[in-house]
């Protein structure tokens, strides 16, 4: 599987309601190694889904960007509207499509998530 197959894929919840598109992949150093993974092995922990990609790309999601003022407010508002999908919440992976096993309102908001 390649990251390009996940990033940009449309995400739908268990009722078929659109959740947004995959914007970022979160990894965590846990669990055993597999060939080539090196030590520690990084596992895909969660996907970040949002409507607008630009704010994420610019780095207003997790990085410590201090300005310029009107942009910080605008971009942080855009980023706040994104949701975190844990790997265990995914029901099926298709081409350009991710179907969830849970409803949209069961997902966590990105701003509650610490990286």
């Amino acid at each position: 599987m390649r990251a390009v197959e996940l990033i940009g894929a449309a995400v739908y919840d268990s009722d078929g309601v659109p959740v947004g598109a995959v914007r970022d992949l979160f990894f965590e150093a846990v669990g055993g190694q597999v060939p080539d993974s090196g030590r520690p092995a990084y596992r895909l922990r969660a996907l970040e889904c949002g409507a607008v990609g630009l704010a994420h790309r610019l780095g207003y999601g997790h990085r410590s960007i201090t300005g310029p003022w009107p942009l910080t407010v605008l971009m942080q508002r855009l980023v706040q509207n994104s949701l975190i999908v844990g790997w265990e919440q995914i029901a099926a992976l298709g081409t350009g499509r991710v179907d969830l096993a849970v409803r949209r309102d069961q997902l966590r908001w990105a701003q509650q998530e610490e990286l």
Partner: protein, 127 residues
């Protein structure tokens, strides 16, 4: 690879410059390879992918296909799978750079550079 306990692809990996053990540039992190472990559970990051065959699909559209095709021509035996640098050859990663633990000459990962050097630039006097 050493990238701390947690990180995100966007923040540390994708589109970052790769430097080899001698501090020479070796392309960008154009894509990531994830492998589903046999025992089940979430996918594991196993390699970074670079070069035209990795970048093409990310660009998408005709330009992406064309760029990937250029890359395929330069791969041994038209191999469509991109150059992969296994994660155990990646050293320190932080939000500013990604350094490999091997030299780029060992990897044979940049045939396009070699081809340009051998067929065009190397033939101009003074190169």
């Amino acid at each position: 690879m050493d990238a701390g306990k947690r990180f995100s692809a966007d923040e540390m990996l994708l589109d970052r410059q790769i430097f080899d053990a001698d501090d020479q540039p070796l392309g960008k992190v154009d894509d990531l390879e994830l492998t589903l472990p046999d025992g089940g559970g979430p996918p594991v990051l196993t390699a970074i992918l670079c070069g035209p065959t990795a970048l093409g699909p990310r660009i998408g559209g005709r330009i992406g296909q064309w760029w990937a095709a250029v890359g395929r021509r330069l791969r041994p035996s038209d191999e469509p799978y991109p150059n992969r640098i296994p994660l155990d050859q990646v050293g320190k990663v932080d939000s500013t750079r990604l350094t490999l633990t091997v030299s780029r000459d060992v990897l044979d990962a940049d045939r396009m550079r070699d081809w340009t050097r051998d067929h065009i630039i190397g033939r101009i006097p003074g190169a």
